[in-house]
Symmetry: C2
Subunit: 168 residues, 2 copies
């Protein structure tokens, strides 16, 4: 009888663990780390949405207090004013429709980094030419007021040289 | 007389501090941090020398066990074999002569990141065309066996679009 009771207890514990989610199923530190990773994933997802909507204000809400954005074919943009101007310039030049893939996120204290790639289409607003867009990205995140913010951001094209643009 | 002795002691202490370097002049943690930063600077300096010498072996000594290198116009190269092949391909295509500028290094435990830019000249080996080279870079470093190694590396051109190449 004791064995059956123990088995029942075991099933109950296992079911509770599944129902309660990862907080019972894994050590606290691991759960916290997964939760932090998830917060950073959300920042990247919101960045994707803001880019595709050409929404400078939403982009700037994701950046921290002293950001550096490194757009291709340009010097590094240091500070919120410069970063904002750079996005405004990007959004008056091109219309992005891209999707990010997150490969890895590593968190160390109040700093983190993520490696992603993005792919999709870009329309050059001046002439309506639609081109394939593909990039690798490195994000450095910093926790400011308990929120993960983009601290440094660099992307670089993965499109082969001499890739031909196609009219849309 | 006591005052003179104290003054002598003070001069002796100050002289010792200067002679002994920063280990006496600043808190241990700050000194350690500066020493770690210096080690990372040395990795970047060695990377510059290896790039300019088209020396794949020396480049690979600076990378860690599971590196990711993201060359422009290419997918991310994951793992030492892929990274090595990518550098071999770069060095059979171009001859670099560039100088890195280090803007910031941040260390958190056994991870660190650095933001740099590089500028100089590149010769396209196929036709001898010499072009201006300029890039922004983000390095992620990882400490492996007490040595800082390149863990992730992404660069992106700062050269304006439609920049004309000039024959050397």
């Amino acid at each position: 009888m004791k064995k059956i009771v123990n088995l029942k207890k075991l099933i109950l514990l296992a079911t509770t663990a599944v129902l309660m989610g990862p907080s019972l199923a894994m050590p606290k530190s691991q759960f916290e780390s997964q939760s932090e990773s998830h917060s950073i994933e959300q920042v990247i997802n919101r960045y994707e949405i803001a880019l595709n909507a050409s929404d400078t204000q939403s982009v700037m809400e994701l950046y921290g207090k002293k950001p550096v954005f490194m757009p291709q074919h340009s010097a590094a943009q240091v500070g919120r004013t410069a970063v904002k101007k750079a996005y405004e310039s990007v959004f008056t030049t091109i219309d992005l429709n891209i999707k990010f893939t997150i490969y890895e996120i590593e968190i160390q204290g109040n700093k983190a980094w993520a490696r992603t790639s993005s792919a999709g289409k870009t329309i050059i607003l001046a002439d309506g030419v639609k081109i394939n867009e593909g990039n690798n990205e490195l994000f450095i995140f910093k926790k400011e007021n308990s929120q993960w913010k983009i601290h440094r951001y660099l992307f670089s094209t993965t499109t082969p040289l001499n890739h031909n643009a196609t009219k849309s």
